[in-house]
């Protein structure tokens, strides 16, 4: 099997179109995962069992089932209920929703790590619940969470090829269509793999640096 350089260069523009969608999906998905995750984490800590329990079960359910099936669900079932989503919207929502249950765990452990004295001091200084969260808890809890959150950011980036299954034209899907069209699989598929490696491997190194910078000093 020979590697066809001319063919590889010829398909680059089409793959680049896919890369753009991949990046777009990663960023939008991350934004959803980060905000929704925080809401989930706060809801799970709620004193009201009618809120904390169902949210907990929901998060477990999402985390225990495949992202691919969730994507199918959003893509095929919601239109039947009258909610028509574009493939990319469904994909971004699915990605964000799935990973929000992971980021919620990161937030939860981060919040749990805040010493009780901080909560008590907030109460003593008569801060409202809102003020306690925005001025005391969240600013202290975020920095140690950064490596774990960045890790999920990279994980979401790697999972975007799944969106191809619901017809989003991201990198994997572009590669597949090029491959099917020319009936040449080696170059496009390998280039997709190399692209992901080219981004992931440096980001692993970056993640280690982040960990060294932000990790709690006791570990």
């Amino acid at each position: 099997m020979e590697w066809d350089w001319e063919f590889s260069i010829q398909i680059l523009p089409q793959l680049w179109e896919g890369v753009k969608v991949t990046i777009q999906a990663t960023i939008l998905g991350t934004m959803i995962a980060m905000t929704l995750g925080l809401l989930l984490a706060i809801a799970r800590r709620s004193a009201n069992e009618w809120i904390s329990r169902p949210v907990g079960v929901f998060a477990e359910l999402i985390r225990g089932t495949p992202l691919l099936v969730q994507l199918y669900f959003l893509f095929y079932v919601l239109p039947d209920l009258g909610l028509l989503l574009s493939p990319l919207t469904a994909g971004v929502l699915g990605l964000g929703l799935h990973y929000s249950t992971y980021t919620a765990e990161v937030y939860r452990t981060g919040i749990d790590a805040i010493p009780k004295g901080q909560w008590e001091a907030s109460k003593a200084t008569n801060l409202s619940a809102n003020q306690t969260w925005t001025h005391i808890i969240i600013p202290q809890a975020i920095p140690p969470m950064i490596p774990a959150l960045a890790n999920y950011f990279v994980a979401m980036f790697k999972e975007t090829p799944l969106l191809a299954a619901i017809t989003v034209l991201e990198l994997m899907n572009q590669a597949r269509s090029v491959a099917n069209y020319h009936y040449k699989y080696v170059e496009p598929m390998t280039m997709v793999g190399l692209f992901f490696l080219a981004v992931s491997v440096p980001s692993v190194i970056l993640l280690r640096k982040l960990e060294a910078r932000f990790a709690p000093s006791n570990s």
Partner: protein, 231 residues
């Protein structure tokens, strides 16, 4: 008195009875792939995890390359590569083989880090005691280090096997008739979407809950008689 079911509900139920058999057939395939994948992953994790702790730089380097390579891309990309490219390079794989190997090697790379971390977390005194007792390196691993390290690996291994179970859904895209594939068949043939997909979501959840229960039991069983790790 029981309220008679509405016509619509009855219809949905009847249809469900028609295709649940198909979905359960898929469930069997999903379970098979999960188990075979876990076996491959476990072997790969131990080889690569121990390899990273080797005295020889070449072995360490190879283990690191394997781990970074498989963690750097997703199961989806690896599976497609194994299924479409390897045959052209002279390694023909059936969908099942491609699925089991890709899943196993992918999760194995994550497991390798768990193996390495658990072994490194065993305190130095244990190694020193082994030296004092004049145990060989193999004896040291086999009788002292690993029995303690395995208990520490279990919780993360549990999470890894759930990730593997979730990864199996991807094999439906290379035409293996697992649970997700069958749900897609049902969707294509009957046009009903919500019920088949909800059914398989619940089944996946049931399987992943089973995995975490089994791991918890195993953890309790294995930590018996070890001090410091048991509760």
């Amino acid at each position: 008195m029981r309220r008679p079911l509405s016509n619509h509900t009855e219809q949905v139920l009847e249809q469900w009875q028609g295709y649940i058999g198909l979905i359960l057939q898929g469930a069997v395939v999903t379970i098979e792939i999960t188990i075979m994948g876990c076996i491959v992953a476990l072997i790969a994790a131990f080889i690569a995890g121990l390899g990273r702790l080797s005295r020889f730089w070449l072995v360490r380097w190879m283990a690191t390359a394997y781990i970074e390579f498989f963690r750097g891309t997703s199961i989806f990309v690896q599976l497609f590569w194994a299924y479409f490219v390897l045959p052209l390079l002279g390694v023909p794989l059936s969908p099942l083989q491609a699925g089991v190997i890709a899943l196993g090697l992918n999760i194995g790379a994550y497991g390798a880090e768990v193996v390495r971390g658990a072994i490194k977390s065993i305190p130095r005194e244990q190694y020193e005691a082994c030296t004092a007792l004049n145990l060989t390196r193999f004896q040291e691993m086999r009788h002292v280090i690993l029995p303690q390290a395995v208990v520490r690996m279990l919780p993360t291994f549990g999470n890894n096997s759930i990730e593997l179970l979730k990864g199996t859904a991807v094999v439906s895209l290379i035409s293996l008739s697992d649970m997700t594939f069958q749900a897609q068949v049902v969707r294509a043939q009957t046009g009903s979407t919500a019920v088949p997909f909800l059914t398989i979501l619940l089944l996946y959840f049931l399987f992943s809950s089973t995995i975490s229960t089994v791991i918890k039991r195993l953890e309790r069983h294995l930590s018996r008689g070890l001090d410091g790790t048991g509760t």
